[in-house]
């Protein structure tokens, strides 16, 4: 009887060992996610769009055929009479209302747009994540005092979240004055509660998991539990949100610039400002608005595609 069970035991053991892979190095979840990302068409398209955009933003000023601020063809454009110059050999995208080369302005403007998007996203991400970690850590491991702190922080973010984002941005811009920095801060501040809430919620979900309980049972210190156990498992949605919010930030920055809260010097090209300027001449020269608008849309699409692909790669369970 006992020998029989022992034999059965051995067979079971063998079967169990068969299931394990041969490889000696394991694949972490991050690496698996990267592998899934590489095989995703959506991610590739998004990444290509972003890559092109970033390259243009970096080298734009050098490859631009003309100085973007020079009103070289001032004499050929009569904006008040509705006479514009469209696409032609020397000016691929035509001229704007002051006779400046639109193609050069688009190339140089990409840098400003990217800068606004990235900086404002980073403002939102860094401050939001710090608040989120504090709140999440306090809520999961802080005991009754921590829960109270978490409640206070979250009610504040709720208030921030309940304000219409554009209105909040306009108010901030109104207080700080008109500049590109203002736009970045305004757009970034709007993102703070989103990141804070997301990270805190994600940490809360992880905080109740068995492996956090196991770490506490092991006697791991609280700070270390937050850093090595809870945080790495809570980051996925935040990374996705960061990518997606780059798109929102670019659009919101453009909107603020359009409303005239951006860079006070209209000569410096920026897609949002260009869109704003094109408004007056939309009836006669719609292309002046189409170029920056399409630029913004494509860039936002690139970030959105990559973000969505990352969401799927990081959390395969979400796929239906």
């Amino acid at each position: 009887m006992t020998t029989l069970t022992k034999k059965a035991d051995k067979v079971d053991r063998l079967a169990e060992l068969m299931q394990t892979s041969e490889s000696t190095t394991g694949a972490s979840l991050w690496r698996e996610a990267a592998r899934r990302l590489r095989s995703s068409k959506m991610a590739i398209i998004g990444a290509v769009i972003i890559a092109v955009f970033v390259v243009l933003a970096v080298i734009g000023p050098w490859i631009a055929p003309y100085t973007p601020t020079a009103q070289t063809w001032r004499g050929e454009v009569f904006a008040n009479q509705g006479r514009f110059v469209g696409m032609r050999g020397e000016n691929w995208f035509g001229l704007d209302h002051l006779g400046r080369d639109m193609f050069s302005r688009m190339l140089v403007g990409a840098r400003q747009t990217l800068l606004v998007g990235v900086v404002s996203m980073l403002i939102g991400l860094v401050i939001g994540a710090l608040i989120g970690v504090l709140s999440g850590a306090a809520a999961t491991l802080g005991g009754p005092m921590g829960r109270r702190l978490d409640t206070v922080i979250m009610r504040i973010t709720d208030i921030m979240l309940s304000l219409p984002s554009l209105l909040l941005a306009v108010s901030i811009a109104a207080v700080l004055g008109q500049s590109l920095t203002t736009v970045m801060i305004a757009v970034g501040v709007v993102q703070i509660p989103i990141f804070a809430r997301m990270l805190r919620g994600s940490m809360l979900a992880q905080g109740g998991s068995d492996y956090v309980l196991a770490a506490r049972a092991l006697g791991v210190r609280r700070n270390r539990i937050v850093l090595t156990q809870i945080l790495p498992n809570s980051l996925s949605p935040v990374i996705v949100q960061a990518t997606l919010s780059l798109a929102t930030a670019i659009i919101e920055a453009a909107a603020l610039s359009y409303l005239g809260l951006g860079n006070p010097d209209p000569a410096v090209p920026e897609w949002g400002v260009m869109l704003s300027q094109a408004q007056r001449f939309f009836d006669n020269e719609p292309m002046m608005a189409v170029y920056p608008a399409v630029g913004i849309i494509i860039t936002a699409l690139g970030f959105t595609l990559l973000g969505e692909a990352m969401r799927e790669a990081l959390d395969p369970k979400l796929r239906g």
Binding site: T5, A8, D9, D12, R13, E16, L17, Q19, T20, S21, S23, T24, T25, G26, A27, S28, L29, W30, P144, R147, T151, R155, S209, D210, Y211, L213, A214, A215, R216, A217, L218, G219, V220, R221, R224, T228, Q229, P232, N233
Partner: protein, 413 residues
């Protein structure tokens, strides 16, 4: 002096309401006054249906949940009174194995990192190389390949993950391991392996286990002493075999009778005690005996008013019932139907009817019930209640099938 002693342990979870400030509107009495002793080198099995507080009790021992009242004395120290840092250091000696092997392993840490986490927290091993050597030795001990070190939890099978969970507890060289449903998430064939592994480790390392489970067969196999929990308190505690051969508390009797017998004839005729109603809410437990709302033997006096203490009825068999002696003697008639007709309700008694080769002892009563004209406790009256011998089946509990018609006292079938 026992290695681990719980004295009147209570864990009450506050029920909170409120938008800005929490108001406590009530309590869930998850564990409500449990006293038990776990001897060094032994295995204490804790059984009960889901929601009875057995998991909470396990966590309270490790202070993973706040202890409301009572003492958890481990090796002479009351853990419930330690401050957080002191408790953290004590956790090296008390470890836990979890129910869900995958859920209890951090998916973003590899095995080496998971196992080194506890060592780092307690300063075991001087450097990484030394820790790695130790981890390798432990992995071999629990039967995992050495190349497991750099792999991640999702790359292992269920049984292997549980081995990792056991290894994680073992690297700290604990004295006591609390196993919270260690095998219930595993396939039956793997269950046996893990149970055997736990037993081997106990023998070679002199470990003490507190095993929490609802699978009666597993608990019987692994435990020296078994405690039965119902709604936050212990209703019966006895050496393993004694409990299975002669359960004395009405709840334990019902629990045991829910285990099917792998003999169709016996299975058809044996008595099943079916409890009516649901488990009462632990937020609003019944007064007096917690079990009186469902007990087949409930009496008009005492049951609803006095809470029975766990009292020794001989041979270390402790029962929390006012009427143990009378029920054993058969002088107490049942006051509630136990519904043989409602066989389909069996599932209500236990979480998961375990496959066990436990021979039912209530078979004689089953025969009696099958013939309604006869008095129920007919033969049982002949058995003195003081007969507490556990190894020898008492006359009242002798198997009543064809093999031994003479012990029936005649005229029964």
């Amino acid at each position: 002096m026992s290695l681990l002693e719980l004295d009147n342990l209570k864990v009450h979870f506050p029920i909170r309401k409120g938008i800005l400030f929490d108001r406590t509107v009530g309590h869930v009495y998850a564990v409500d006054g449990v006293s038990l002793k776990v001897e060094a080198g032994q295995t204490y099995g804790l059984v009960g249906e889901s929601g009875c507080g057995k998991t909470t009790l396990g966590r309270a021992v490790l202070r993973l949940v706040d202890v409301t009242e009572g003492e958890v004395v481990f090796d002479g120290t009351d853990l419930a009174k330690l401050d957080e840092e002191a408790m953290r250091r004590f956790r090296r000696r008390l470890q836990m194995v979890f129910q869900d092997p995958l859920g209890s392993l951090n998916p973003r840490q590899n095995i080496e990192s998971i196992l080194a986490e506890g060592m780092a927290a307690h300063g075991i091993g001087a450097d990484q190389a030394e820790r790695r050597e130790k981890i390798k030795a432990i992995l071999a001990k629990v039967g995992l390949p050495a190349n497991a070190l750099s792999r991640y939890p999702h790359e292992f099978s269920g049984g292997q993950r549980q081995r990792i969970g056991i290894a994680r507890a073992l690297v700290l060289e604990p004295d006591v391991i609390i196993c919270d449903e260690p095998v219930s998430a595993l396939d039956v064939s793997i269950q046996a392996q893990v149970v055997n592994l736990l037993e081997e480790l106990q023998e070679s390392l002199g470990l003490t286990y507190l095993v929490i489970a609802h699978d009666l067969a597993v608990v019987r196999h692994i435990s020296d002493v078994i405690g039965v929990m119902y709604l936050g308190s212990l209703v019966e505690e006895a050496p393993s075999d004694a409990l299975y051969e002669g359960p004395r508390h009405p709840y334990t009797k019902a629990l045991m009778s829910a285990v099917p017998v792998p003999d169709p004839d016996l299975e058809d005729r044996r008595e099943r005690i079916l409890l009516h109603g649901d488990l009462p809410s632990p937020a609003n437990p019944p007064t007096g005996c917690r079990f009186h709302t469902r007990c087949p033997w409930v009496q008009e006096t005492r049951c609803a008013t006095d809470r029975p203490e766990l009292t020794d009825t001989g041979d270390g068999h402790r029962v929390a019932c006012h009427w143990t002696a009378e029920i054993e003697a058969g002088t107490l008639a049942r006051t509630r139907a136990t519904g043989v007709e409602a066989v389909t309700e069996t599932a209500a008694v236990a979480e998961e009817p375990a496959v066990a080769d436990v021979v039912r002892e209530e078979d004689d009563k089953a025969v009696a019930d099958a013939q309604p004209g006869l008095p129920v406790p007919g033969v049982a009256a002949g058995a003195p209640a003081s007969d507490a011998s556990t190894a020898v089946p008492r006359p009242a509990e002798a198997p009543a099938d064809e093999r031994s018609p003479s012990t029936e006292g005649g005229g029964k079938r």
